[in-house]
């Protein structure tokens, strides 16, 4: 089975390029020989049924799988043509360039201010208080949270509502000025209104960062993304422009999935 690349897909400059990537958990092969390009100015959505390896593949893009002792990655993943699994690539530096937002909002149990300022502080992006203040304000503004929290920056980040927490996590990711933002089902724990806000935010951010979003909701993929990859059983079945995948899929399995026959 080879990935079907939709014929309408025009070439764009790739921010990240995965070639023949396989991920193993112990003996189990979770991702099987996946190749894909992540374009630099678009939102790419990974869709597919549960357990198909979307999240595993996403975590391979910023080496978060390193924290799982049994996980092993084969193939190459390139960020701006540099292999991120080579010895020359420092994993800390990589994660500063490729940020991540998780399924469950996970703000640090510190103040809202410290949540945002933590990244810039450890990377030495801002040393002075004024610079930090500015980064905190811009990040929160970009995440659409500034107006809601500007009067209570010293409150704990965990005291916010679920949707606000998730936007705080996005602001935290933006604060270190990454090139790529990976989002692992960022709305699955949120109500529809909070989800709508996050989707708006993704649309706004898409001009500035390469965004990859894993989602269970096909409507969400259709709304926020310009590129869609359909994962099934550890492989990418079909990849193309979002409009093409949803209106004119080539593979039978893609058709079945988007029409709700399984998954």
């Amino acid at each position: 089975m080879v990935t079907v690349i939709h014929p309408n897909l025009e070439a764009t400059d790739a921010k990240m390029r995965a070639s023949n990537v396989s991920v193993y958990y112990g003996d189990k092969k979770a991702i099987d020989d996946v190749s894909i390009e992540v374009p630099s100015k678009y939102v790419t959505a990974f869709i597919g049924p549960s357990g198909c390896g979307k999240s595993t593949f996403l975590r391979a893009l910023n080496r978060m799988n390193d924290t799982i002792p049994s996980a092993r990655v084969e193939g190459t993943v390139e960020l701006d043509s540099e292999d991120i699994y080579s010895d020359a690539m420092d994993v800390v530096h990589l994660r500063a360039r490729v940020g991540m937002v998780f399924q469950k909002p996970n703000p640090f149990p510190k103040s809202i201010y410290d949540n945002i300022a933590y990244g810039p502080k450890i990377h030495g992006i801002a040393e002075k208080k004024d610079d930090l203040d500015e980064i905190v304000q811009t990040s929160l503004t970009r995440a659409g949270l500034w107006e809601e929290v500007k009067d209570r920056l010293t409150d704990s980040g965990t005291a916010l509502s679920g949707g606000q927490q998730q936007r705080l996590c996005i602001a935290r990711a933006i604060a270190v000025d990454p090139e790529v933002i990976l989002m692992d089902e960022p709305c699955s724990a949120l109500d529809p209104i909070a989800t709508a806000k996050i989707e708006e935010l993704i649309a706004e951010l898409s001009g500035s960062y390469a965004i990859v979003i894993v989602t269970h909701s096909m409507q969400q993929a259709a709304r926020v993304s310009q590129r869609t990859a359909f994962f099934h059983l550890g492989k990418i079945v079909e990849y193309g422009k979002t409009s093409d995948i949803f209106t004119n899929p080539i593979e039978q399995r893609t058709k079945d999935y988007i029409t709700g026959r399984y998954g």
Partner: protein, 420 residues
């Protein structure tokens, strides 16, 4: 659709159900009352223990004292505030014959028999009072001197009838009385129960605990962090884990033997020293800290680690900025439990010689000392009846010390929890 009719209300079934329900409630009530009885029993035992201890212990903060009025400057003691503030003041007073003067004039005032009921070391208390307040040198001042063990027990209604009669006579004349003895908190061990104090043992305990904390806390926390955050999960770490769990369950006397065999053969001149005691107790406390520390670290949600890693924190930054501060309240709780156990520990310290009779408080980590529980053990072993109450008083001090330590730890824990 099936043709089964919808069940209707059935009187017989309802009655059976009600009966069963009654039984179930009865069972619940029985369970509740048994639990309540267990609690009441524990509280009663605790109250009896504390009440008994307080009644005995309060008497332990008092002692039998003989009142003697002296005007020392008239009796030939030449000293002033300046000389008395010097370190050698006690020796200076001794050279001037304070001991003989005290003895002679006590005899003159009370008669030979009664004077024999004053402790031989009484002059030291006179000296201490004079040094504390040089003004009293120049005037007629009533010194309350500790009674001898015989007189004290006669006063308490025990021993030689003649002695008891004399004690009763002295009480009538206002020469003998039981007074609050705050010196108990500042003196050290002695042979006469009227002259003992707890300060030596208390200071010994503090020094020992400091050594224990300084060794066990960092080693325990670092070991826990390494095992949880860095160590690969393989057979070797399993072996280490099992060993640490076993170490926490080893009887404390074994640690005493280890301290004796290892520490004392390396530092043979530090027998009875808080340094060695603290090292021995640290061995015992460390596994407790490691185990509780690992549990506290495990309880930190992995999502926090992921969040920190995902914005590019290095593993060390994840540990020290996020995991450790979040786990610290739990680690502190474990440390308190370990330290409290160490504070009450007697057996291992007996092995390394901290049961010696030490009449002066230790002036450092390497000078001979004893600790509170050992002091309690030693006093409870004494023949003189006067030590019974002193033992209870020492127990109260030990419990208060424990309470203070726990209070401090709870305060620290809450502080950290608020901040994070």
């Amino acid at each position: 659709m099936s043709d089964t009719p919808i069940p209707t209300r059935n009187a017989a079934r309802d009655a059976a159900f009600t009966a069963r329900l009654k039984k179930r409630y009865a069972q619940e009530r029985r369970f509740k009352y048994t639990g309540l009885a267990a609690i009441l029993f524990s509280v009663a035992v605790l109250l009896v223990l504390l009440g008994n201890m307080t009644i005995n212990g309060l008497a332990g903060f008092q002692r039998a004292e003989v009142a003697v009025e002296l005007n020392l400057s008239e009796l030939g003691i030449a000293a002033n505030a300046l000389t008395l503030s010097e370190p050698g003041a006690l020796q200076a007073l001794e050279i001037q014959g304070l001991k003989d003067i005290t003895q002679f004039y006590t005899e003159q005032q009370l008669g030979a028999d009664a004077a024999a009921g004053v402790s031989e070391q009484a002059w030291r208390e006179v000296a201490a009072q004079v040094i504390a307040d040089p003004e009293i040198l120049q005037q007629n001042y009533t010194y309350h001197l500790p009674a001898s063990p015989d007189l004290a027990s006669a006063y308490a209604g025990e021993g030689d009838p003649a002695m008891q009669a004399m004690a009763a006579d002295m009480v009538e004349k206002g020469q003998l009385s039981r007074n609050w003895d705050w010196g108990f908190l500042t003196r050290s061990d002695a042979t006469n129960p009227q002259e003992v104090g707890i300060w030596g043992a208390l200071k010994g305990s503090m020094l020992t605990m400091l050594v224990t904390l300084a060794l066990a806390f960092p080693i325990g926390v670092l070991a826990a962090l390494y095992l949880e955050e860095y160590a690969p999960k393989n057979r070797w770490t399993d072996v280490i884990e099992v060993s640490i769990n076993n170490l926490a369950a080893v009887p404390s006397i074994i640690f005493g033997l280890l301290g004796l065999a290892v520490f004392l053969s390396v530092f043979p001149s530090y027998r009875s020293a808080p340094l060695i005691g603290g090292m021995t107790l640290a061995l015992m406390t460390m596994p407790v800290i490691v185990i509780s520390g690992r549990n506290a670290i495990k309880a930190v949600p992995p999502s926090i680690r992921d969040g920190a890693l995902a914005i590019g924190a290095s593993p060390v930054q994840v540990v020290f900025h996020h995991v450790l501060p979040l786990a610290l309240p739990g680690i502190l709780t474990g440390t308190i439990i370990g330290m409290a156990r160490a504070l009450g520990e007697t057996a291992p310290l007996l092995m390394i010689g901290m049961r010696a009779f030490v009449a002066t408080p230790p002036d450092g980590f390497t000078s001979p000392a004893t600790v509170l529980p050992v002091q309690i053990f030693l006093w409870s072993d004494e023949i003189d009846r006067g030590f019974v109450e002193r033992t209870s008083a020492a127990i109260i001090i030990l419990l208060l010390f424990l309470l203070l330590m726990n209070g401090l730890a709870i305060y620290l824990r809450n502080r950290f929890e608020r901040k994070w």
